[in-house]
Amino acid sequence: MHEKTLAELSQALQNKTLSSVELTQHYLKRIEQLDGSLNSYITVTAESALEQAAAADARIAAGNATALTGIPLAHKDLFCTQGQRTSCGSKMLDNFISPYESTVTQRFLDAGAVSLGKTNLDEFAMGSSTESSFYGPTRNPWDTARVPGGSSGGSAAAVAGRLCAAATGTDTGGSIRQPAGFTALTGLKPTYGRVSRWGMVAYASSLDQGGPMARTAEDCALMLQVMAGFDAKDSTSVDQPVPDYSASLNDSLKGLRIGLPKEYFAAGLDAATSDAISAAVKQFQALGAEVREISLPNAELAIPAYYVIAPAEASSNLSRFDGVRFGYRCDHPADLTDLYKRSRAEGFGAEVKRRIMVGTYALSAGYYDAYYLKAQKIRRLIKNDFMAAYEQVDVILCPTSPTPAFKIGEKIDDPVSLYLTDIYTITANLAGVPGVALPAGFANGLPLGMQLLGPYFSEARLLNIAHQYQQVTDWHQRAPAGY
């Protein structure tokens, strides 16, 4: 059963050749047997999953099912789920039972999907390897000595390890696309504002965006259909009609203009990834696309600007964790300041504290112009680069990261080297444009990822292009040995 894609499972459920209860039991058993080797889940909600599955079977029998009804999913553990722990991978929220439901997870409940549980992540989504979680690192099913990427590494490992049909992730600087690349998945970061952020615990509010992680572009289309749309509860939600993402999957790529940003194929890119993308270029040309070189001249400024904007917003967002209203509180505080300082020192891990302090510094008196304002100006330069590129081409093709998955422990003690792994993904967050990551090949048994970036609200086109590529390649059909 777990060999099937979400779209295939959906068909089997609708045809009643399979029940959601059987399917859910199957995945729960797999989680029990295999997740010890991956640590992809923080919380498994077996009891509520089986109740949801029974309700889904009844809904299918009654004839009012959706494509997602009865499909077992997993949610990144920073989407608030009512009555369940929502930890954000942090000791700070280890005891936090959410009193409300996020918009994204509510939409999946409304569609009749089953939630198997909550997946591991870098603490508060701050990381690129899922090693900074309070609940320990997640392992990559393609090589358990390696990271699955991050911050949505638990979701990536759970989908790649066939421990759920698909999962939700969030992408602030590459946290859907980079782990998708490391685990041979398809993952989509939508346009900023396309998916509601309500109930998604905030890291950097002007960059955060939820999206699907699945085995194929077709599955991502089904997931995004549920996730996307206006939400009055999110002040930056965009009120624009949601297209039928599955309807255009089979459109022809004839005449499609693809741009290769020369800055992304320069020094530092792993040779196997570069070769895989060259091979993909030939596939796209065979499908009728025209490929040309373009330039994103300010790309190298993206990481410095991101590491001002994201920490600055994080320092503000995470000020709510103060030991007073919810979450971790230190023992025996001497006074209120001691309560704040020790609750935060003991509740947050090292990387979260570092980013809060960088952001605090960047926003402190006398430094605002040199850091935050400067970074916002660079943000405009990066957006302008994309807008200029989209006058020449329809989409941009580039790697998701400079190398395949690295080893657990390899970079965790050197924050700057870890930051540089997001060099190809961060620009899309700063510009707010959508991107889809998909597998482009393998080297030494490790997946190689590529991404397609498009103009605002081009999700349907991106999924169409990814789907067409997946009709002529089989990288996405490979499964890691033992899973």
Binding site: N95, I97, P99, T191, Y192, G193, S206, A232, S235, V238, E300, L301, I303, P304, A305, Y307, V308, S319, D322, G323, V324, R325, F326, R329, D335, L336, T337, D338, L339, K341, R342, R344, A345, F348, K353, R354, I356, M357, V358, T360, Y361, A362, S364, A370, Y371, L373, K374, A375, K377, I378, R379, R380, K383, P415, V416, L430, A431, G432, V433, Y456
Partner: protein, 95 residues
């Protein structure tokens, strides 16, 4: 930009994060490394560039001034570390 111990102590205080004596050297080194990465921004002239706060440059949406939320105090205080009579308790602030 390289930070010294005084800078780091001041930042940690502003962020309300307790730092132990043992943590200060490593924190200082790592924050300095990050700031060095960030300082690459200074190489480009942005004097003629307007800052970008929101990628789509939309403004905050306003809604009608109507009551839409009900009181959730009990649900929210059920997960608080300590409460009494509907209030959150903290150490004594005023002597």
């Amino acid at each position: 930009m390289s930070l010294d111990r005084t800078d780091v102590e001041k930042i940690a205080h502003l962020a309300r994060i307790a730092l132990s004596e043992d943590d200060i050297p490593a924190t200082t080194a790592k924050l300095s490394g990050i700031l060095e990465l960030i300082d690459k921004m200074q190489a480009v002239d942005t004097s003629a560039v307007a800052p970008l706060a929101h990628p789509l440059e939309t403004t905050q949406r306003l809604r009608a001034d109507e009551v839409t939320e009900s009181n959730q105090r009990e649900a929210y205080q059920a997960i608080a570390p300590t409460t009494e009579a509907g209030l959150y308790l903290v150490p004594k602030v005023i002597e």
